[in-house]
């Protein structure tokens, strides 16, 4: 235990005790804690309570084909075994969820009115909800010579979805998590549910369209084909595409299935009451100790 002798534990313990008595157990510290409590309560009072609304999804089909390309090898080499997070059905779903096309479809269903207006589903109304612009945007528009939109559009709905609805697939997890923070949990649950269903529906539509195009082109080829092997292959393609369409043209989710439908946290998760009070207490206590310390050690420090 030679190091204990080197550090002179007795002397250090005395210094430690003096430090606490000199800087912590003083009036200023008590005042600091009092002020911190008032400050914390004010912050909490002026904060809007926000609920956590989330939904757990799972990819319906595994992404079976993953090409082994130079880029893939390179990515694996540098990124280690971090899987490509935006690949497969998750990537498709995420891209569709944040797309303008989806926002436009939802806008046409009147969701824009529920987000930016009073919820009136009259098309004339929700296409003319007035939009306020920041001064900086007005100045930029004035100098650059373009006009700002007077009304909310699907673009705003797209920005709203992108900035408020987070979709992630945690590393190593099989689930996809869609979440948002909101003061209005009822609306968020409805909106999230609609976004998830519409995203999948939109992604399906694109696949149906692709299959229809393949079928149409295959029929053209079939008409001109004289080789029996090729004819048989084309026929098989047509069959499989019809089967795909049959799979897609129903209300069942295709890219994902919903493990846990959108639901809200029981209580608001923000503001974090305990964390704010505790953190402010530490900050104010430090300020108090620091000020006392500076005033007593001015000479030594400078």
């Amino acid at each position: 235990m030679s190091f204990l002798k080197t550090y002179n534990i007795k002397e250090k313990t005395k210094l430690l005790r003096d430090f606490f008595q000199e800087f912590f157990l003083i009036k200023r510290s008590a005042h600091a804690i009092g002020i911190s409590l008032i400050f914390s309560l004010l912050i909490i009072q002026f904060s809007t309570p926000k609920f956590y609304v989330s939904s757990a999804l799972r990819e319906a089909q595994a992404n079976s084909q993953q090409s082994v390309s130079a880029g893939n090898i390179a990515g694996e080499l540098l990124l280690g075994n971090i899987e490509n997070k935006d690949s497969g059905n998750f990537g498709t779903f995420k891209a569709n969820m944040h797309s303008y096309a989806l926002a436009k479809r939802m806008w046409e269903q009147g969701w824009g009115s529920k987000v930016f207006g009073d919820g009136n589903l009259d098309e004339e109304y929700f296409n003319s909800i007035p939009k306020k612009h920041k001064i900086i945007d007005r100045i930029a528009a004035f100098f650059s010579g373009y006009e700002l939109f007077q009304y909310f559009t699907a673009h705003d709905l797209q920005s709203y979805i992108k900035s408020n609805y987070e979709i992630i697939k945690p590393m190593g997890s099989k689930n996809i998590n869609v979440s948002t923070m909101t003061p209005d949990k009822e609306f968020a649950i409805l909106f999230m549910s609609a976004v998830i269903k519409e995203t999948d529906k939109y992604a399906k539509l694109r696949l149906i369209q692709t299959s229809k195009e393949i079928i149409s082109a295959s029929y053209d080829q079939l008409a001109s084909s004289r080789n029996s092997t090729i004819t048989s292959a084309i026929a098989s393609t047509i069959n499989s595409e019809y089967f795909k369409i049959a799979n897609l043209e129903n209300d069942m989710p295709y890219h994902i299935y919903i493990v846990d439908p959108p639901h809200s946290s029981e209580y608001p998760i923000s503001p974090n009451f305990i964390a704010i009070i505790f953190s402010n207490t530490i900050i104010f206590l430090f300020l108090s100790v620091f000020l006392s310390f500076i005033s007593k050690n001015k000479e030594d420090l400078w």
Partner: protein, 413 residues
């Protein structure tokens, strides 16, 4: 306290963010005052470290967006999840979704993000609420390194300046693993120079997961030191280089294959396609495959190319790469670091010490490998610093009273 809802609740640019992170700073502030009072640190260290601990609040969300280093969110998310779920080391190594495969494409047996996050999350911070919380964990690790390293010097002011180098201030103010790699490498190098090989081996193990390149370079240092005693005399050093070259020639195909793979990987990572497609996806579309990157023909051509690119690596970002205010500052820092290394070698009279010669040889070898692979300036400025800084500490230790004293005692014996 832990933010279980980090995915959604990042607290960026809110009052809560500053409250939580100032509370983290305050705890370290109190510890610093206490350590000063107990005479563990002097007044200069107190003031400097108060500034260093405050720096995380100046970078993320203030000087730049944290999304400039998007990896931060991966590390923060993982560290917070580890804290919230109480994930143990056993979970990480044996039960989590780690594939444990050791293929040629994937050396690390577990995810580097999970591993680094677990280490960082063991630092007992008051709040693990935002992306910046992890930066405080990095700062704490750096501060412990300072406390450990300063005991080799009579005057701690001598080393204080080395903790104020802008790059270390920046990297330790972010939620990334670079500080961890730097600190472990410093621990490895100092212990190796002190002849404590077991400690060095223990430090080398986590580097296998954290940064395989660093592991490979330091492994050569360890082998040269422990087996060939290349730090002892000219003959041992020359013998080591001879064996090193012979081994290189025997394993030429494998070494060239690995180097070519990494060159391709870095070129692909840096790729920008005509339609704006970037990185690996862009490379897949427009990059032209493996054959478009000229292969290295021999070990000697690899050495030649590495040495040829070395001055560029040491000075990047070059003026024609500058695209922001930080770039010229980084260039100035690059020049300063090289100057510091040579100035320290000259002034402290270690130039003829074989410890120094061997240390510098390994540094030049490591830097030459990076110079050979160099593609993206941003990435390699970071890589270069992560390699250079621990060796600078190695040199600093060679000039310390502890080392000089032990050397004198050894000669007298």
């Amino acid at each position: 306290m832990v933010n279980e809802y980090f995915e959604q609740l990042t607290y960026g640019r809110t009052l809560d963010y500053y409250i939580f992170e100032l509370a983290n700073f305050s705890i370290f502030g109190l510890i610093l005052l206490l350590l000063y009072r107990l005479n563990f640190i002097n007044s200069n260290s107190l003031i400097a470290w108060l500034g260093i601990f405050l720096s995380p609040l100046l970078f993320n969300y203030l000087l730049f967006s944290p999304y400039l280093f998007p990896d931060q969110f991966e590390y923060a998310r993982e560290a917070i999840s580890v804290k919230a779920n109480g994930t143990s080391w056993a979970d990480i190594f044996f039960y989590s979704n780690n594939n444990f495969n050791l293929s040629t494409e994937n050396f690390a047996p577990i995810s580097t993000v999970v591993f680094s996050s677990k280490i960082l999350s063991t630092i007992p911070l008051l709040n693990y609420m935002t992306v910046t919380s992890l930066a405080f964990a990095n700062k704490a690790i750096l501060f412990i390194t300072f406390l450990w390293f300063k005991r080799f010097f009579n005057n701690e002011n001598e080393i204080l300046l080395y903790f104020l180098i802008p790059s270390i201030l920046l990297y330790s103010s972010l939620a990334i693993r670079d500080t961890l790699i730097i600190v472990i490498s410093i621990f490895f190098i100092i212990n190796l120079i002190r002849g404590k090989i077991i400690w060095s081996i223990l430090a080398l193990i986590p580097l296998f997961i954290l940064k395989i390149q660093m592991f490979a370079i330091l492994l050569i240092y360890l082998v040269g030191y422990a087996i060939f005693q290349a730090h002892r005399s000219k003959n041992f050093f020359i013998f080591f280089i001879f064996i090193f070259l012979i081994s290189g020639l025997i394993l030429e195909d494998l070494i060239l294959l690995i180097l070519d793979r990494y060159r391709l990987a870095f070129i692909a990572e840096d790729f920008v396609g005509v339609d704006g497609a970037i990185s690996y996806q862009g490379w897949d579309l427009y990059g032209g495959g493996e054959e478009s990157v000229p292969e290295l023909s021999s070990i000697f051509s690899a050495i030649f190319l590495g040495l040829l690119n070395l001055p560029i690596l040491l000075l990047i970002p070059m003026p024609w790469n500058w695209s922001g205010i930080f770039y010229p500052l980084q260039t100035i820092e690059s020049i300063f670091l090289v100057y510091l290394y040579f100035n320290l070698s000259r002034n402290k009279g270690v130039l003829m010490d074989y410890q120094y010669i061997f240390l510098t040889f390994i540094l030049i070898m490591g830097l030459s490998i990076y110079a050979l692979l160099m593609a993206n300036e941003g990435t390699f400025v970071r890589y270069r610093f992560t390699l250079f800084y621990p060796f600078l500490f190695g040199l600093l230790y060679l000039s310390s009273s502890d080392y000089q004293g032990s050397k004198k005692a050894y000669k007298e014996d």
